[in-house]
């Protein structure tokens, strides 16, 4: 565990954000990345996201704080993270992707970092903008998200050793896979519910015999 959080790994995280092409390549081939750090990044991203929704200044923040539940959002983000990783992995396995589940998790986890940083900066900055400077705030957030998405794309491309076109195709398929997984999970939970219900009714019947 200590190794997973070692200084080199942290340094390499920031190197990867700045040089995604190189960074993700050596993550795949030299074990430079760290899954625990990636998961931590996702957790911090979730907290920052909630924090932005709750704490951004009144002028830019139109969200009703009563609708924000940080715990629920954390679980949601983590579940979504898991879903993306698994579905991407299941697609790329079939399409000659070189990346392991571990690498995918790192690629996606690391690419949330710029979004996290910019959201935090934007939240702080929102206390200094007035009405006509709102565009600045939105632009900042948009740039952060765009940067995050781009390095996520590069990351997935590099760890699987794909071309850009193939990455796009696999991402489209990943989206389909996500839908299928969600559908199967719903089906499964529904069926399990039916089975449980069946045994409960049997139990009740026996009790009242």
């Amino acid at each position: 565990m200590r190794e997973a959080f070692s200084k080199e790994k942290w340094k390499y995280l920031f190197y990867t954000i700045r040089h995604p092409m190189d960074g993700f390549y050596w993550i795949r081939h030299q074990e430079r990345g760290s899954v625990p750090i990636a998961i931590l990044c996702v957790i911090i991203f979730s907290l920052t996201f909630t924090g932005n929704r709750l704490l951004a200044a009144f002028i830019v923040n139109k969200i009703d704080p009563r609708n924000v539940d940080s715990w629920f959002e954390l679980l949601g983000v983590l579940a979504f993270f898991l879903l993306i990783c698994v579905s991407n992995w299941s697609i790329t396995c079939l399409l000659n992707g070189e990346g392991r589940l571990k690498d995918i998790a790192i690629a996606i986890g690391y690419s949330t970092v710029p979004i996290t940083i910019i959201l935090a900066v934007a939240t702080a900055l929102s206390y200094a903008v007035a009405d006509n400077e709102q565009a600045l705030y939105s632009l900042l957030v948009a740039v952060g998200i765009a940067y995050g998405l781009i390095i996520m794309l590069i990351g997935i491309m590099q760890i699987h050793n794909y071309t850009l076109g193939k990455t796009m195709i696999t991402l489209g398929l990943t989206f389909l896979a996500m839908l299928i997984i969600v559908f199967l999970l719903l089906l499964l939970s529904n069926l399990i519910g039916l089975v449980i219900n069946f045994f409960r009714s049997v139990y009740i019947e026996i009790i009242f015999r």
Binding site: F58, I59, D64, A128, A130, D131
Partner: protein, 493 residues
């Protein structure tokens, strides 16, 4: 022994609590037979004190005029206040006009018939009535296909009938429903089955044209379906005809407030300028259509249906909703001030409200199903809001602050009050207080202005420090770069 003492103590405590809580609960519950609420910034329901409470219900059964019983009203259609304070009611089902005194306590006159110079005439279902500023009485005699004009002594003056114009269809039958008159004695008339707008007649009674046409909104989606439909299908689809106006009132400057039934619940009232353009202000949420939350099932759900509107002083106007029997009051900026009224059979609730009029601090509602007139009087809460809005309308924002603060005592979360106070602080230059109140009032636009001035003030005062810190940081950065650079060189070497 100890146990029984404990039980006794608990009982005593419970009794004390009951005594303490119950009266206050009764005091809190407004003695009105309807729910009083408003919508906050996020369009959530918030309960408010009652702005108006039922004062009296008037049925004419027991009233007498010239020694004769007046009898029950029958499906009355309209009611109107004359400049001298008298109240005219169109008793549609009984084909007569009843004149009340300014408090609606006794009957001053009944017009059953009139002499038009040739012979004695009777009304045929008169459903609209209006008194002009010079005291002339205009009656929309619906089935009689005419508007009858009387002078101050209630003597017949003229008919307005048979409008002729190129823009009117040959088959058009003039069945006036509502009538209103502006300061120049121009006559505005809402006629049955007339979708083009309000009909305007000049002083001579000549039809001059339509006014304030409601445009039909056709979405692109509808257009798409229309295009792919066949002719046979198209003929069976519903026609896109504009909704008609349902009621109107004219303010002293000649602006016509006209209500209409909007199925989207977005805009149930229009303020028409002399050119017939809608110049109403719709407030923060862009809505002057009554209830914002209209979901649900059954006949009680759906958008509010405004059947009449009354312009009160200082830019305030009230709309009467037939759907749920509520009265929505807006100010000149389109802010929803308060809501009261409801459907029911108690005093102060309606079954089929048809007309609204304001008599000073009272609001009068005519119910054409219960055949009664209901008078509502303003409560302290309603009075304070009216007063504050009036002060702001006149530009006395500073004076309004005290009134708004009293509103806050009664209704702590009143966003209008908070915004009003905030705006006053903003003009006074107290930006910190302004920000506080505008935040509570959820008014982003003005909060933003206050915030910008507040921030710029701080920046101006501290510009010296800020620049110094910036300079120091830059120097530190340059030095740090140099030192680090040297180290790097050493390492490499």
């Amino acid at each position: 022994m100890k146990k029984s003492k404990l039980i006794k103590f608990i009982f005593a405590a419970a009794a004390v609590l009951l005594v303490a809580i119950v009266p206050s609960l009764y005091a809190m519950a407004a003695p009105v037979p309807y729910v009083c609420y408003n919508y906050d910034y996020r369009e959530n329901l918030v309960y408010t004190p009652a702005a108006y409470e039922p004062d009296r219900a008037i049925t004419t059964d027991q009233m007498e005029y010239n020694g004769e019983k007046v009898g029950t009203l029958n499906n009355p259609g309209d009611l109107c206040k004359a400049p001298d304070g008298r109240v005219f009611v169109a008793d549609t089902g009984n084909n007569r006009i009843i004149i009340f005194d300014d408090q609606i306590t006794k009957v001053l006159g009944i017009i059953n018939s009139f002499n038009d110079g040739k012979k004695e005439q009777k009304f045929k279902t008169p459903s609209g009535v209006c008194v002009s500023s010079i005291g002339y009485l205009y009656v929309a005699d619906t089935k009689g296909k005419r508007i009858v004009v009387f002078d101050n002594n209630l003597d017949f003056v003229k008919y307005i009938e048979n409008p002729t114009s190129e823009v009117l269809e040959e088959s058009f039958v003039f069945n006036p429903l509502k009538v209103s008159v502006d300061y120049a004695e121009r006559v505005y008339c809402i006629a049955d089955n007339q979708f083009e707008g309000i009909m305007v007649f000049d002083t001579d009674g000549q039809f001059t044209g339509f006014y304030g046409t409601i445009e039909v909104k056709i979405s692109n989606w509808d257009k798409f379906w229309k295009r792919i439909a066949s002719k046979a299908e198209r003929s069976k689809q519903r026609l896109y005809i504009p909704t008609t106006f349902t009621g109107m009132d004219i303010d002293s400057a000649g602006f016509v407030y006209a209500s209409n039934i909007d199925s989207d619940g977005k805009q149930g009232v229009r303020r028409l300028n002399p050119k017939g353009e809608d110049v109403i202000k719709k407030g923060e949420n862009g809505n002057v259509g009554g209830d914002l939350r209209t979901d649900g099932v059954g006949t009680y759900a759906g958008a509010s249906q405004f059947v009449d509107v009354v312009y009160r002083d200082n830019g305030i106007y009230s709309c009467l909703d037939r759907k749920r029997g509520r009265i929505f009051t807006y100010d000149h900026e389109g802010n929803l001030l308060y809501i009261f009224g409801g459907l029911g059979t108690q005093e102060g609730t309606f079954q089929m409200p048809s007309a609204i009029e304001s008599l000073g601090d009272r609001i009068v509602i005519l119910d054409s199903n219960r055949n009664s007139i209901f008078i509502f009087k303003e409560t302290e809460y309603g009075n304070l809001i009216n007063e504050a809005v009036a002060l702001r309308y006149d530009g006395d924002e500073k004076l309004a602050v005290d009134v708004w603060k009293r509103v806050l005592e009664l209704d702590e979360n009143n966003e209008l009050a908070n915004t009003g106070i905030g705006k006053a602080y903003l003009t006074a230059g107290d930006y910190k207080q302004a920000m506080k109140y505008l935040r509570l009032g959820m008014n982003r636009t003005y909060y933003s202005i206050a915030f910008r001035r507040y921030r710029n003030n701080i920046l101006k005062q501290n510009i010296g420090y800020i620049l110094t810190v910036l300079l120091v940081l830059i120097i530190a950065f340059v030095v740090w770069r140099k030192v680090k650079g040297k180290k790097g060189v050493k390492k490499n070497a």
